[in-house]
Amino acid sequence: MKRNDWFLAAGILAAAAILFCFQIFGNSGDQAVVSISVDGALYGTYSLEEDRTVKIDETNRLEISGGTVKMDWADCPDQVCVNHRSISRNGESIICLPNRVVVSIENGESGEVDGIAR
């Protein structure tokens, strides 16, 4: 094995390490947000860090508190979204079908599933 072989291997490994560090660093910079869309169109995104209540088009009311999101009130008859447990993890969502409101978490901490076998 020649000297330059080691350099090449070290170079690729270093590139991998840099990319890896970049990912970790880049990821921590992103804050978890909740994104709301109505009828397929983006209604707004809100930070999970900040406690607040969001009114969505007079039909739904969303409550963000302590890093979790809950549908507080909805004018629909079935109340499925209101009874949905609060969400906080990446990819989780609350959907109000009658009002076509989709609330989902982005960039949050990942869920508890370790992996999915295909």
Partner: protein, 164 residues
């Protein structure tokens, strides 16, 4: 080149057998989807013993055949991209006297995984699979080094075969 077809057949058969052997031994590197790539042993050897054209033809034949026998259509697509990219990279590095077979093989292993990931990005239409890149690069270096070491030994021993 004498007996070109015969040698090509032998190498294709050998590469296919290696692909088969690989499905029998679950080499677990702790990374989902990472494989040792035993068949690349034949590819690298052929690249060194003959030329780029021959190695490319062999590689494509092997990937398509092995894909139909052991894998699926998407597997062929990924493997093809990886195989072609790694061959191009290896062919560019081969003339450099400062690099041995092992170094060339390491570059080939890393670029093989890179090519597959690029196709995966295009197919899945998301750059998120790119997060897998560092892991795959490291895996490529390790498997490439292993293949390179075996290849160096193999090349030493088949030095007598001149008209391949």
């Amino acid at each position: 080149m004498k007996n070109r077809a015969a040698y090509f057949g032998v190498f294709t058969a050998l590469a296919l057998i290696f692909s088969y052997v690989e499905t029998l031994i679950p080499v677990n590197l702790g990374i989902q989807g990472a494989k040792l790539g035993l068949a690349n042993l034949v590819t690298v050897t052929v690249l060194y013993k003959t030329d780029f054209k021959e190695a490319l033809l062999l590689s494509v034949t092997r990937v398509v055949l092995a894909g139909f026998i052991f894998g699926n259509l998407f597997g062929i697509l990924y493997s093809l991209a990886g195989a072609v990219l790694s061959l191009v990279v290896m062919n560019c590095l081969k003339p450099r006297s400062s690099l041995s077979v092992i170094g060339v093989s390491i570059a080939g292993g890393a670029s093989h995984n890179l090519g597959q990931l690029i196709v995966a990005m295009i197919v899945v239409e998301t750059y998120h699979v790119g997060y897998y890149l560092p892991v795959l690069l490291i895996a490529g270096v390790i498997t490439g080094a292993l293949i390179g070491i075996v290849c160096r030994e193999a090349l030493k021993r088949i030095r007598n075969i001149t008209n391949v």
